[in-house]
Symmetry: C2
Subunit: 387 residues, 2 copies
């Protein structure tokens, strides 16, 4: 099948890691008989330098024409003194809004090879892991375009008080829950809704909608947890979780907490998804099946790490978070589960072979070598063959 | 000096642990020449059974006449089916509101004796500890009566959406910050304001007020951190924190996260404070200096653990969280810093001597013995003499 992928390398190490992910995608294309057409676009600081705007209209327009977007990182000290609307980070907000993505997927898995980097004791991890292993593998699905971060806000007329509003509609809650259920269906079939329903009205609406949506996924176990308890449980028993679905604010806090539990932020991928063609299109939503008839889900994929301009261009940045983001792209936008797992297995094989960038250890400091190991047709093929 | 202390034992293990804290307070009174007059009051499930109400008016009235309140725990399965306004937990909300307390102090310290219970690896703890020790000692000051938990909330007329409002006034922010600064002054003189000022208007007001209030405490270092980052930093480098001051919602999440880092919820005390007589009284605030002329700060002190009815009355509940709450009572309500430290040292000495209730280890299963060691005049005296 032919797919078009927008590449938005961005700033700092962004171009380094995106280039390496493209090598891996090319290896996948070769092995599995796909054609990936890349459209390279500018956004972030480099776009400010070139056009005066963090997200030029042409970038957004071209990205929307593609099947999915792979982004490196944006920003850096060079642009930090610019006014808010001209910051590189605005490009991210603009891309999310423009692409109609509303569900942010943040996997946090502790790979056995990187167990030493995890701040949690092995015996604590083992106690909650269903297989008794010192690892965990959870996915936080964070609502991305609603809630307290996008509600009405302001000051009282005399300036003596300030307010922000958490608002959620049934449709906003339903669509992100469905992303969570679809994710759980290809994982361990457990979904935990995290809220503060003992206090918040919006949380009570989340529970009402979840109770309805859950009926459509009878083979997935739905549970509920308060956010303060979840902040505890992530530390004391992370192995209990499969998929967590939660609001924008709670997801922001919990996904960052979960990421540090892995000890390896340089390894962590993310996806931001819009509507899926498998679902009935809903009023007011965008995305869905393309005119071409292909069943793709628009998504924006990026590593959670920043642009790290101090190490840009030196072949030392860890490419694995971006390579794993490319795997998510194949899984969630194109439905290519086998190909996604081939990349993930290749990453595992690369770590098993001892390759490390310096952020996760020190045996082979070359990101290129790590990438070569993960991305070579052989590695992807071998890893896949072993499955 | 004469002080009156309201005792609200409550339900389950509440009476067990409050009785043991009273033994320790009596030992302190003997040694330091104070008189503590106790007024025992009913609240929670036992009050429902006796009067039909979780917080009888006489309980609140009598508590307000005292200098401070020590509470055990309320609630239990027996009362869980009652309607919301008749639940034992309403007694807590009613006491907080009635006593005018607005700052919830949650210490989270990892005692070296309980290091094994901590889920975090020793080397991670050492890396952020100023002395290189595998421990941490932080205090979260949570705003308790404002923010998202008390703002306007509701549904849209058609029921399709729900909202909650985070609102903070300058005076609400200022008074809780001042509690934080006063706490930091008798600790390591570091205060971190945690918010989401890159997004929320209420958080920006917090920062404005903090910048003003900080000027009154020039010897205390003030820093700012976003809540999502703080959720990470608590796990990866808890030793960097002294006092954290934050909103009701963020404090709820972060204090629970911090508590699990200690690995010993049975050890954790809390205080809820109102205005201090050291501060100018502010419009609309309650509390402050009593008519007697004594300089006391009204406070509600309680362990963070629950009522654990399954182990009530068996002399196995860990009394140390309540004993440490009594130490906080002496420090924050009566300004008896030496006496508070004597109790804390006695608790340390008790653990050093190997006494444990079964929730934190297993060498001596008797809460009475733990208490006897902590509370005997000798232990308090010895611990104090050693300082
Ligand atoms: Mg974040
Ligand atoms: Mg809580």
């Amino acid at each position: 099948m032919n797919y078009s992928i927008a590449l938005v390398p961005g700033d700092g190490i962004g171009p380094d890691v995106v280039a390496q992910a493209v090598d891996v995608l090319d290896a996948v294309a070769d092995k599995y008989g796909h054609v990936f057409n890349y459209v390279e676009l500018e956004a972030g600081g480099c776009a400010i330098d070139a056009t005066g705007e963090p997200l030029p209209a042409e970038t957004l327009e071209a990205a929307k024409q593609c099947d999915a977007v792979l982004l490196g990182a944006v920003g850096g000290p060079k642009w930090e003194t610019l006014p808010g609307h001209l910051r590189p980070e605005r490009a991210l907000l603009g891309l999310r809004a423009g692409l109609g993505v509303y569900a942010n997927l943040r996997p946090a898995a502790l790979l056995p090879q990187l167990r030493e980097a995890c701040p949690i004791k092995d015996e604590v991890l083992r106690a909650s892991n269903p297989k008794g292993e010192a690892s965990f593998d959870l996915l936080i699905v964070r609502e991305l375009t609603g809630g307290l971060y996008f509600g009405e806000r302001g000051r009282s007329p005399d300036g003596s008080s300030a307010f922000d509003t958490e608002t959620y509609s049934r449709s906003e809650i339903e669509r992100v829950l469905r992303v969570g259920y679809r994710s759980a269906a290809v994982r361990r079939k457990k979904l935990c809704v995290v809220d503060k329903a003992n206090v918040l009205e919006s949380s009570r609406l989340w529970r009402e909608v979840a109770a309805e949506v859950a009926k459509d996924y009878p083979d997935i176990e739905t549970t509920y947890m308060y956010v303060d308890n979840c902040a505890m449980q992530l530390v004391r028993a992370p192995g209990q979780f499969d998929v967590i679905v939660t609001s924008n604010l709670f997801g922001d806090i919990l996904s960052d907490e979960a990421s540090v539990l892995t000890g390896s932020i340089g390894m962590l991928a993310s996806a931001s998804l819009g509507d899926s063609p498998e679902e009935e299109p809903k009023a007011g939503s965008s995305g869905g099946a393309k005119a071409s008839g292909k069943r793709v889900t628009m998504g924006l994929y990026e590593p959670i790490h920043g642009s790290a301009p101090d190490i840009a261009g030196q072949d030392i940045a860890n490419p694995l978070a971006t390579i794993l983001s490319a795997a998510m792209l194949l899984r969630y936008s194109f439905g290519l589960e086998t190909e996604a797992r081939a990349i993930e297995s290749a990453v595992t094989a690369t770590l098993d072979a001892g390759y490390r960038t310096r952020d996760i250890a020190s045996r082979n400091g070359s990101a290129g070598a790590v990438n070569a190991a993960a991305g070579s047709t052989g590695a992807v093929g071998t890893a896949n063959a072993a499955r």
